[in-house]
């Protein structure tokens, strides 16, 4: 699947195709390799989770797909076309939330809908729905500075969901949430995903979460940032509490855990 010649998208059916993407940042005069020839295809309607140690390049990879960072070399394709910048087809939830501090929760959620030109009534209704979904109804008119960390994160989730993108790029979206809220939102996400056919790339540092949600878990390694392992999760959907307690889940969980924490350093195992 990894080709070195830049021919147009070899996997024609891939919704997202990352081809030999490298990304370096200047650091103390040298080039720091944040991504080293990463290749990965994500099929339409696939749910891929990405795990890996802190600083291994997960966010960088997501930014490349979002069109916010340009790869130093290699190509990133969405729907067979080179990523030429961000667009509302790819919803993004940022690790640092990036709420507009001067807008209330409601207006933050409505932002994308306003850009898309939805009429006010419809906008309001949609926003209302997603605000309720993340449990912020009481704070719909609060400014971000009045929200707790977890509430900010939920607001960012509602904002991304509201524009109804076909691809969701989520960077540790449930990281600041307590376990119960997290489980609720996990279930909602899976439910929406399976009903509305979305393609999801979901970064997390919670191995359980990664296995529980995904069709495939991508394990990344650091220094240089690269794909170390890809674990296919054969578990059936819907993923119930039962699935979570199944031995197969435990096996996969251990497999991923192993991949993450017993990486032979700098092994060049591109299995994407």
């Amino acid at each position: 699947m990894t080709t070195t010649t830049p021919t147009p998208a070899p996997a024609a059916t891939a919704k997202i195709s990352v081809q030999e993407v490298s990304k370096t940042f200047p650091l103390r005069g040298e080039d720091f390799v944040a991504l080293d020839r990463v290749s990965l295809d994500i099929a339409d309607n696939e749910f891929v989770t990405v795990v890996g140690p802190s600083g291994c390049g997960k966010s960088t990879l997501m930014n490349v797909l979002a069109g916010l960072e340009e790869p130093t070399s290699g190509r990133a394709l969405v729907d067979g076309k080179d990523v030429a910048g961000p667009g509302p087809d790819r919803g993004v939830i940022f690790q640092q939330y990036a709420l507009f501090p001067w807008l209330t929760v409601r207006k933050n959620v409505e932002f994308g809908l306003k850009v898309a030109g939805l009429p006010a009534a419809e906008r309001r209704e949609r926003a209302e729905h997603f605000i309720r979904l993340v449990g912020l109804d009481q704070f719909a008119d609060a400014l971000p500075k009045m929200l707790s960390g977890g509430m900010k994160q939920r607001c960012a989730i509602a904002r991304a969901y509201a524009v109804d993108p076909s691809i969701l790029l989520m960077d540790e979206p449930f990281g600041a949430l307590d376990a119960l809220t997290r489980v609720t939102l996990q279930e909602q996400l899976l439910e929406t995903w399976s009903r509305e056919k979305r393609t999801v790339m979901f970064i997390t540092h919670d191995v359980d979460e990664a296995v529980f949600l995904a069709n495939r878990v991508v394990v990344m390694a650091a220094r240089p940032g690269r794909i170390y392992d890809v674990v296919d999760v054969g578990l059936p959907y819907p993923r119930t509490e039962e699935v979570r307690l199944s031995p197969e889940f435990a096996r996969l969980r251990n497999r991923v855990w192993h991949s993450v924490y017993h990486q032979t350093p700098a092994l060049n195992a591109q299995e994407g």
Binding site: G67, L68, P88, F94, A98, P101, P144, V163
Partner: protein, 295 residues
């Protein structure tokens, strides 16, 4: 400046967070219990700080007037405050004052509002597009260093002696002061917010209106405050150009006769009008930047 003085009251947006937030108004009312809130004691909000501010403003103004009075009684040929007040009353009775104030206010407001309004999009264009920046910047910098007096001949040649050149000189002063600040505001906007807008589908125009402008409001307001000062300070130069009425004109005329009382009336009126407009801007600011973390 190097140590926190508990006696010093703090402003509304207190950097020292709660203890300080409370310290401000409280030590202002001389309870001096900063940071030692008794149990169950309800926190009182803004008004005291605002009152304190007004009281201090008043003190400061009284002190200033006193210094002036002392100076004028000590051999400096200033008119004394009562003389100036008398002159103001006299001019007011003649209806001149009203006429002058209206004429000058009209010019300053027009020039200032147009200047600020132009500065915001130009600042944005300069912040975002190399082409715009490359083309505008040398001239903006260039004209900023030229005293308005030196521009008068040029303006006269191009625009004659009507209202246009007067408003233009003021416009230019406000615009040039504001555009630098807006530009800096535009380039200082946090990139993550722009990225957030982009991934929600926003294009440059929308980002400008909905992200860049609100995010750089503090800068734009600095620009407007500075521009407002420049606009008033340029008034006298503007009214050198064949004005028949206006505070600047009245002051120049008075200068021909060494009528210092009238000059003082003019200076004080200009100062007061400038101060009032500045307060209005600050009011707008506290409305517009209430979302900032600092409050």
């Amino acid at each position: 400046m190097t140590a926190s003085t508990p006696r010093l009251a703090r402003n509304g947006p207190p950097p020292g967070a709660p203890a300080a937030a409370a310290a401000g108004p409280r030590s202002g009312r001389d309870t001096g219990a900063a940071g030692q809130p008794g149990p169950g004691r309800p926190t009182r909000r803004r008004p005291p700080a605002r009152t304190l501010l007004l009281v201090l403003n008043a003190c400061s103004i009284v002190a200033g007037v006193a210094i002036w009075w002392i100076l004028s009684l000590n051999g400096f040929q200033f008119p004394t405050p009562p003389e100036v007040v008398e002159k103001a009353v006299q001019l007011g009775r003649d209806g001149l004052l009203r006429q002058d104030v209206l004429a000058s206010l009209g010019r300053v407001l027009t020039g200032f509002l147009l200047g600020s309004a132009a500065a915001i999009p130009v600042g944005f264009l300069m912040g975002w597009y190399t082409v715009a920046r490359g083309l505008f910047e040398p001239w903006i910098q260039f004209f900023r260093t030229i005293p308005p007096l030196a521009l008068l001949p040029l303006v006269l040649v191009l625009m004659g002696i009507g209202e246009l050149p007067k408003v233009f000189v003021i416009f230019l002063a406000a615009f040039l002061a504001c555009v630098i600040s807006t530009y800096q505001g535009v380039v200082s906007v946090d990139r993550t917010l722009i990225n957030a807008a982009r991934v929600l589908g926003a294009k440059d125009g929308t980002i400008f209106v909905r992200v860049v402008v609100p995010a750089s409001t503090p800068f734009i307001l600095v620009g407007m405050r500075v521009g407002l000062g420049s606009a008033w300070a340029t008034l006298v130069a503007a009214e050198l150009l064949a004005a028949q009425v206006g505070l600047g004109y009245r002051m120049q005329q008075a200068q021909l006769y060494y009528d210092l009382a009238t000059i003082f009336v003019g200076i004080i009126l200009i100062g007061v009008l400038g101060l009032v407009m500045d307060r209005l801007l600050l009011l707008a600011e506290s409305r517009l930047t209430g979302w900032q973390e600092r409050r």
